[in-house]
């Protein structure tokens, strides 16, 4: 079966006065129908930028400079204007981080749902209204038939994120890009939203790109995980394997800095230093200045690229035999 989303060698560039920045550089991965790919990394690692590139919402001057993006077998990275607009919502849905600001405060949520469906599905007002209520019921909004006429401010944060998910899914896209969908929510609500997203995508066979910096969310929801560092893919693999036996020293460091109840009161490990700025990337492996295992070779050779499935980690000396500290 063809993957729903297939990214090959995706490179996003931002031309600036001081040279060209590459917030996403040579990234390749696939997402199958019904699969949830978690994309993790620190702020500025390029995970959101890659998501924006897929849905065609990079803010200029950022642009896709190299590589290909295929959705359901169709190449989409060269589509412009109205052709791309038709795909947004219909083929690719997106859920943003903050449900408080994602909804237009002046429009009823029912109107926001129906306008989305009418833009893509060619259905009438009455039909759209019926489907809007069904969509709200599906995301677990109680009293959907009345609530469809409410304004966004009349909902709590968690309920609003449910509305946002209903909006992203209402034209039945085959791919959802969820950009930090739980970061702005209370911890108690986070698990509900993740469970909802997981259930809806399983039922419909929707592929999900789940962008987050929260390892807990990844462990809970994702089937596979892509670890990004300084715009590059550091490690890609099934979530259980990557979390328990990371191959890339950066992933290992990330896992070490996540608090776990099982580790008791042991001091959390920190990765020394900070992610390099995009205009000052080191030669060779981008992680080598912070890597405890770096040798001279790492300063020259960026390591194997993860695009053929042959390598799991973009590291010359992966930590295959080591487990989590």
């Amino acid at each position: 079966m063809k993957p729903v989303l297939s990214i090959r060698d995706l490179t996003v560039e931002i031309p600036t006065r001081h040279g060209i920045l590459r917030p996403v550089s040579g990234v390749s991965y696939d997402i199958e129908a019904g699969e949830i790919l978690g994309v993790v990394g620190e702020s500025g690692a390029g995970k959101s930028m890659a998501g924006n590139a897929v849905i065609g919402l990079l803010s200029p001057p950022a642009h896709v400079a190299r590589g290909e993006i295929h959705v359901n077998g169709t190449r989409i990275d060269q589509l412009k204007g109205d052709a791309m607009r038709r795909l947004r919502g219909k083929e690719i849905g997106m859920v943003f981080q903050d449900p408080l600001t994602s909804l237009n405060p002046l429009l009823r949520i029912g109107d926001q749902l129906t306008e989305t469906m009418q833009a893509h599905l060619g259905i009438g007002q009455a039909d759209a209204q019926r489907r809007a209520i069904a969509a709200l019921e599906e995301v677990g909004i109680p009293g959907a038939a009345e609530r469809v006429n409410s304004y966004p401010h009349e909902f709590s944060g968690g309920m609003r994120q449910r509305v946002v998910i209903a909006l992203a899914l209402c034209a039945e896209p085959s791919l959802i890009i969820a950009d930090e969908p739980t970061t702005a929510l209370d911890v108690s609500v986070q698990a509900q939203i993740i469970a909802l997203l997981k259930r809806l995508c399983r039922e419909r066979g929707t592929a999900v790109m789940l962008i987050t910096h929260d390892m807990g969310v990844i462990a809970e929801a994702a089937d596979r995980v892509a670890v990004m560092y300084a715009g590059q893919l550091a490690e890609l693999g099934p979530v259980r394997e990557v979390l328990t036996t990371p191959h890339h020293p950066y992933t290992h460091g990330l896992m070490g800095s996540t608090p776990l109840a099982s580790k008791g009161k042991a001091r959390l490990h920190q990765i020394p230093g900070a992610m390099p700025r995009l205009d000052a990337l080191p030669d060779g492996c981008a992680f080598h200045p912070r890597c405890p295992h770096a040798v001279d070779a790492c300063r020259a050779d960026p390591g194997p690229r993860i695009d053929t499935g042959s390598a799991r980690a973009a590291c010359l000396f992966p930590l295959v035999q080591e487990g989590v500290a």
Partner: protein
């Protein structure tokens, strides 16, 4: 909602009383109307008699209270200069000013919002930048100069449009209108552009900056991510969100269009209340000045009330906690 309206109306009455009091306390510094009313051949006796008749020998508080007593019954006194009831004179002059203000207002709001949206959406385009640069002229040139330049170009040089007056008017009941004759419409063009240009550029620049702000919001990105058409994103989602601050300023600007029609009316010899007021000041025609100032305050206060009510119509968040907000 009703409680809010009642409270606002009471506040408005208070504002009117204060405006009237301030106005009356200042009239004595404008000059002595008696000088103008009696000719050179006058005796001290004549002066004292007339002053007594007009009540000008009384303290301003008493004059003010008498004015208020008359005003609540619709009686604004008799003009010193024309010897006719002020309310008649105002009714005669008001249509000219209101028509001029209405045309200017429609031009300012319509073109201002359209250009504001255009320059925000195409903000790096050549046309948008050209419009923005030109708009500086509208903001910075004084009204009388714009009027004189327009007269020079279109009346003197090209001879297309009249340089003064209202043209022919048609009388409908108590209202005279220039909308129904060709010369009346022609006569409206230059004064309404002169009067509305500043407001138009102001509204345009405001709409543009608000629109740019709104276009950065998450809900606009989300609207795009849902694949809505550009037109729907720009007008249904973005423009509506820019309207609340725009309405505030626009409302006040409409008030000032009426109030500051004085200058335009003077330049174009437009027979409206502004010109009436200028003439009244020269003659120290206190009843006319007082009635005009009260009329302008009523308009400002009324527009403010309408603006506040429009907020409720546009923004559902205000409707929800209207009791908490006010």
């Amino acid at each position: 909602m009703l409680a809010f309206v009642i409270r606002r109306v009471l506040q408005s009455l208070l504002v009117l009383l204060v405006v009237g009091a301030v106005a009356f306390s200042m009239f004595r510094f404008v000059g002595d109307p008696i000088d103008n009313m009696l000719g050179q051949e006058r005796t001290q006796e004549d002066i004292d008699r007339l002053r007594g008749q007009l009540g000008l020998d009384q303290p301003f508080v008493v004059q003010y209270v008498k004015f208020l007593q008359g005003a609540v019954q619709g009686n604004f006194g008799v003009s010193y200069r024309q010897g006719r009831p002020v309310s008649d004179i105002l009714m005669e002059r008001a249509p000219a000013t209101l028509e001029l203000a209405a045309v200017s207002g429609v031009l300012a709001i319509g073109i201002g919002i359209a250009l504001g949206v255009f320059t925000a959406i195409r903000r790096d385009g050549f046309a948008a930048n050209a419009i923005m640069s030109l708009s500086l002229i509208g903001v910075s040139l004084p009204t009388f100069l714009i009027g004189i330049l327009l007269i020079y170009l279109f009346s003197v040089e090209l001879g297309w449009l009249p340089s003064f007056g209202r043209g022919e008017t048609v009388r409908i009941g108590g209202w005279t209108t220039g909308f129904l004759t060709e010369s009346g419409l022609k006569a409206l063009i230059l004064p309404s552009i002169t009067l509305g240009l500043y407001q138009m550029t102001l509204i345009m620049r405001l709409v543009r900056s608000e629109m740019l702000e709104v276009l950065r919001q998450d809900y606009i990105r989300f609207a795009r991510a849902r694949g809505l058409r550009e037109r729907a994103v720009n007008f249904r989602h973005a423009l509506k969100n820019t309207l609340v601050p725009v309405i505030t300023v626009t409302g006040l600007q409409l008030g000032s269009i009426i109030a500051f029609a004085i200058i335009t009316e003077t330049v174009f010899q437009w027979p409206g209340v502004g010109l009436l007021f200028i003439n009244a000041i020269q003659f120290v025609d206190i009843p006319v000045m007082a009635a005009y100032l009260m009329l302008i305050s009523v308009m400002f206060v009324g527009i403010n009330l309408i603006v506040d009510l429009l907020y409720f119509a546009i923004d559902p968040r205000l409707r929800a906690d209207k009791t908490a907000a006010h």
